[in-house]
């Protein structure tokens, strides 16, 4: 009796969250799984039909899906390693004695507090014909370019923006991990005669693995879901060169009113980002050196 009484405030406190989580996460998650087997059109719910694996088999033969998948993989593979490496470099710099360190930290974190829509709108101007990038190129006597209107450069341009916008946040995450590395390890390394690189390679990097794993997984998932940037800047164009999976999902659901097929695409994104995340985590774990396992947390 008394135990139940002690538990109940927790339950009550959790209830609002649980309701919202259930209604807006668990339920849609399951519902879209069911939708994946249906032909469901919101304008004509009465005519919903069961199509079995039809939406899934359609996925495999759909050239649009293939190109969206290619674009998304290109985006993920092109941004995640670069963002992570740059974030690591910046975190390393922050860790070193540096004047005005707090100002740097604040500046680096700034893009993270901006809405993606705002960033995308700003970069649309930045890449525009009379925008900062082209005007700089012109001032340097170089050729200007239609960054977002050339199918060859539109996606890389969005990727560059994404890296700029994301790197600061991950750098701070890694910086926090840096500061938690015990000073004694560095002292030991110095005593052993290890140089800068050897210290970084054999002390810092292994100690950063958990944080790096986090950064890789979060960034991978986020990159698989790239959407707002594309919607604001190119809407998937030119010539489908920036059409990503979630952009396609959005179009399929809300413009083509094919909720069943778009649910299957959603699950494809979910599975892909899951597979990539597990792969990234596994790699991080398998390379954890023996010494570290014995370390106090």
């Amino acid at each position: 009796m008394s135990r139940r009484r002690r538990v109940s405030p927790v339950v009550w406190l959790l209830l609002p969250w649980a309701l919202v989580y259930g209604a807006f996460f668990v339920f849609p998650f399951l519902f879209s799984f069911v939708l994946g087997f249906l032909h469901y059109n919101p304008l004509n719910v009465a005519n919903t039909t069961f199509v079995g694996a039809g939406n899934v088999t359609r996925l495999f033969g759909d050239a649009d899906f293939h190109s969206a998948l290619r674009n998304t993989l290109f985006f993920v593979i092109g941004t995640v390693p670069v963002t992570t490496t740059l974030a690591l470099g910046l975190a390393w710099l922050l860790h070193a004695p540096l004047p005005m360190k707090d100002a740097f930290k604040a500046a680096m974190f700034l893009p993270s507090i901006l809405s993606v829509v705002v960033i995308a709108l700003l970069f649309k101007l930045f890449y525009a014909p009379g925008g900062a990038l082209n005007e700089t190129l012109r001032a340097l006597g170089l050729q200007t370019h239609g960054w977002l209107t050339d199918p060859a450069t539109a996606l890389p341009a969005i990727m560059a923006m994404d890296i700029w916008a994301a790197v600061g946040y991950y750098a701070l995450v890694l910086y926090a991990a840096f500061t938690s590395i015990p000073e004694s390890l560095y002292e030991a390394a110095t005593l052993e005669g290890a140089g800068h690189w050897a210290t970084f390679r054999h002390v810092t990097l292994p100690m950063l693995k958990p944080a790096l794993g986090f950064v890789l997984v979060i960034n991978t998932i986020r990159s698989f879901q790239v959407f707002v940037e594309v919607l604001v800047m190119t809407q998937g164009g030119p010539l489908g060169s920036t059409n990503t999976l979630v952009m396609m999902l959005y179009d399929t659901a809300f413009r083509r009113l094919d909720y069943g097929y778009s649910s299957v695409i959603a699950y494809a994104v979910f599975i892909l980002s899951g597979v990539f995340s597990v792969f990234a985590l596994r790699r991080m774990r398998s390379q954890t050196p023996v010494q570290q396992r014995g370390m106090p947390a």
């Binding site: 304008l43 977002l148 809407q235 959005y250």
Partner: protein
């Protein structure tokens, strides 16, 4: 931050279900005097109109809700899925055919019979010989010309290009001015816009997406000729997104572009010294073709699920009537009443630029009233863009578009 984007799709679906769960049985209750209207204009603009309607119709109460252009369509979809749709709703002409096809709209053919000659822009409301929407306001695209650049290039700004040849020559001469000045503006690299510009030339040349019997003719000689002409403009054109083109025109670096009335409103505020005028979209030749342009129309529909159909139709017709459509148009500054009366109203003919829009709307076209249009327009955009990027010969691009459009059409014919 995580999965926000695809959760949006899933979230809407969840919303549909929640709405469905909570709305069961709510509809038939005590709403006998309440009519729900969903529309896209500022409430402040619509409120006095509604007040007038309520005054004229004692016992009827109108609940107005403003939709946003960004999410309005999703909201309407969700409402229909859950049976919580309004009685009267504003729908864009490119979307209306899909709604007609799905059978969610009230047949308004009787109203059409009564007022067909008083309004323009009925085409998008026609589906299988029935009419499902009332034209409310509309906006054509016209040719904007920078008079100063015309003079600099030795052209007469009072005699804007009337034909394709004149358009090409003017583009060439203005483009030759150099200094970052372009002759003409062509849309590229964004959705929903390019076909509106290209189809103006195609329609003017007698081309179309379907013929009268519904066959796909998007690769007809007339279409190919229009595309080949459009490509001829390319060397003297700035190929960019609409907002960049508008910006270039505003800053006097673009000689001509085809755009909408929102610019007239914006330029008055942002570039009051810009010396420009408007003209009809040029036709293929002096003795051939027509000055056709694209028009977007806002239509009023009554949903089949409405419990107050009589009151809903009454409200839709009241809104559509000229005084109300005029009030909305003047407040918006970017659209015009679909009523023919506007053609002779000094409010729309006094300003020579605005007059061109009204004049152009007489020969403007809305896209084919096909339920698959939203996919078909992408096929046209793709074809024109591919040709503009020089990826493939224009003929092949149009052949591919024809194949694609035929496939889409077949899917809708199946059901």
């Amino acid at each position: 931050m995580m999965r926000r984007s695809h959760m949006r799709a899933v979230g809407v679906v969840a919303g549909l279900c929640l709405l469905a769960a909570f709305s069961c049985g709510k509809k038939s209750g005590s709403r006998s005097t309440s009519v729900h209207l969903w529309q896209f204009w500022d409430i402040a603009v619509v409120a006095p109109i509604i007040a007038e309607f309520e005054k004229q119709n004692p016992g009827l109460h109108v609940e107005v809700e403003q939709l946003t252009w960004a999410t309005g369509l999703e909201k309407i979809q969700a409402a229909l899925a859950s049976g919580t749709q309004p009685d009267v709703c504003e729908l864009g002409s490119t979307w209306l055919p899909r709604f007609s096809y799905e059978g969610v709209l009230e047949d308004l053919t009787a109203v059409y019979e009564a007022e067909r000659d008083s309004f323009l822009m009925w085409d998008s409301a026609l589906y299988k010989d029935r009419v499902y929407g009332l034209p409310w306001v509309q906006g054509s695209r016209v040719l904007f010309i920078n008079r100063e650049l015309f003079k600099k290039a030795g052209l007469d700004p009072d005699r804007p290009p009337q034909t394709w040849d004149e358009l090409l020559q003017a583009s060439q001469k203005i483009g030759a001015l150099g200094n970052g000045v372009y002759g003409f503006g062509q849309n590229i690299g964004e959705k929903y816009v390019l076909y509106k510009k290209f189809m103006a030339f195609a329609w003017g040349n007698g081309g179309d997406v379907f013929d009268e019997r519904g066959n796909v003719v998007v690769n007809s000689p007339a279409m190919l000729e229009a595309l080949e002409f459009y490509l001829k403009l390319a060397p003297f054109s700035l190929q960019e997104k609409q907002e960049v083109l508008d910006q270039y025109f505003k800053t006097g670096k673009l000689g001509m572009q085809i755009s909408g009335a929102w610019n007239v409103k914006n330029y008055a505020l942002e570039a009051p010294n810009l010396d420009y005028s408007c003209a009809l979209v040029p036709k293929p030749a002096a003795d051939r073709g027509e000055h056709v342009s694209f028009a977007g129309a806002e239509m009023l529909v009554v949903f089949k699920g409405s419990q107050q159909k009589e009151a809903a139709v009454k409200l839709a017709r009241f809104l559509q009537a000229y005084p109300q459509a005029k009030a909305v148009s003047l407040a918006a500054g970017s659209v015009f009443p679909a009523a023919r009366e506007a053609m002779n109203d000094p409010a729309f003919t006094r300003d020579p630029r605005i007059k061109v829009f009204v004049e152009q709307s007489l020969t403007s076209r809305t896209p084919p009233a096909h339920p698959g249009w939203n996919e078909m327009e992408e096929a046209i955009d793709h074809a024109v863009e591919e040709a503009m990027y020089g990826r493939r010969a224009p003929r092949w691009c149009l052949d591919d578009a024809a194949k694609e459009i035929t496939t889409i059409a077949a899917r809708f014919n199946q059901k």
